[in-house]
Symmetry: C2
Subunit: 252 residues, 2 copies
DNA sequence: GAGTGGTCTAGACCACTGG
DNA sequence: CAGTGGTCTAGACCACTCA
């Protein structure tokens, strides 16, 4: 429950909705509301003696931060806390493994599989033969989706993969067993991006918050790129780690 | 200017404020509003024949995305576009260098310098002698702040650094020239975080959007950690790149 | 003082979930 | 059906900027 003793200060420097956000945040984290459901908007309007718009604005802030989730017709709930996961990108480890190491169940679902004639690709992949095979997997733990990975491979490799293969196996497994290619080098790019409407849908996140995006180009021994994958990660769940030995000597 | 011909569809699946956001975004990027200032809220209310709250909600979305900035008493403006910068973390390169490579002027400002008795540090740094020296630098280009770096070093190294040193030199330069230590290994952690109130202030960003955060622990040849730095990066500006050779063989 | 964006109110109608 | 959150309206007052 939410403490009623605290009172809003009208005419303060701090806006009413900010004061409400602060109070809710504090009381949620200090365990006063261990349960799932929060008071309804109508109740909060009464307790804080403000308008509904002000209460909503305060709650929206916490929704954007991932602390709360709201469902029309049901109510407002403490977002199910997700484990913090550190994914090492300097080793070849499927995301499944990263999650299992923290004792999590992970379910994957293939949400796209198809050939594409004119994909948008990084410059480094201009030499690939078309069409390319592209597929997307969704990762879910405790009923909560937390990552989408999109993989693209050139035609000569993609033709070795069946729908059933892709549904079950990590990409590096398929590259080695099915396509008989061994990645020996990978280039990574980390960035933050707005989710597309589709991604915000399947990852159940607000369209205004950001995704942590990890792109990877893997190359075989000859330096030819053999796969291009993009990982869309919920930033409240994932961290990425890298260790670099033998730091090159300074230049300038 | 904003095109008046497009019309909102009332009763559509898509909310009015979303339609307005879409139209503004499209017309801004398609060059119809090359200038700086957008129509005022009052003008948009008239053109779209909606309430002010709806127009504001549409614009707020673009402000959160960093497309627009609003200033009370002045108006709403296209946010000054910042260059996209890729910072390689597998080489030792100061941020200054990264920016200069894209032809940017960069100014730095020391915004904090002091000793701290009880800092919060990663476990790996528990062995450090206290107090630790901590300082923060703000990076500004084209008058727009885009990064804050916070550096912490143990007492035995920090005592070699003067305020003037820190104001002018990259950390790795000081480690080698002043403290006579050479980092040979570094561990990185990449994450997304809410800015603190102080960070959202100096980086001029909304408190509800996320920062790209890069943490680094550098070690000398004996494996002792010699510095811990945290880089708070505006996600609309920075990307991080890593290349890994000799991918380890698969495990499971 | 006129004009800007920042906050807040008190309503309204709707779509969705549940009993 | 009553109750939830999602959207929208038409006002109001304020702090700030600039002429």
């Amino acid at each position: 429950m939410v403490d009623m003793s605290a009172v809003l200060v009208r005419g303060s420097e701090r806006a009413l909705y900010e004061q409400i956000t602060d109070m809710l945040r504090h009381q949620l984290t200090s365990g006063l509301a261990k349960g799932d459901q929060l008071p309804t908007e109508a109740e909060l309007v009464e307790r804080f003696a403000t308008s509904r718009a002000t209460v909503r604005r305060a709650m929206q802030q916490l929704v954007d931060e991932g602390v709360l989730t709201r469902r029309r017709g049901k109510g407002t709930f403490l977002a199910r806390p997700m484990p913090k996961v550190v994914h090492p990108i300097d080793r070849v480890m499927p995301f499944m493994e990263t999650f299992k190491q923290v004792g999590e169940d992970v379910h994957t679902k293939l949400i796209h599989f198809g050939w594409e004639e004119s994909p948008v690709l990084p410059e480094a992949l201009n030499g690939w033969d078309r069409p390319v095979l592209t597929f997307q997997r969704l990762y879910v733990s405790r009923g909560v989706p937390h990552a989408v990975t999109s993989v693209i491979v050139p035609r000569r490799i993609g033709r070795m993969f069946s729908h059933a293969d892709v549904e079950k196996n990590p990409i590096y497994h398929m590259l080695q067993k099915k396509a008989k290619v061994t990645p020996v080098r990978a280039e990574f790019l980390v960035s933050c991006r707005q989710p597309t409407p589709q991604l915000s849908e399947v990852l159940e996140m607000s369209r205004s918050s950001l995704l942590l995006v990890l792109e990877r180009i893997s190359r075989d021994a000859e330096g030819h790129p053999v796969e291009y994958s993009t990982h869309f990660l919920r930033p409240d769940v994932y961290q990425l780690s890298v260790a670099i030995d033998d730091l090159p000597s300074r230049r300038s």
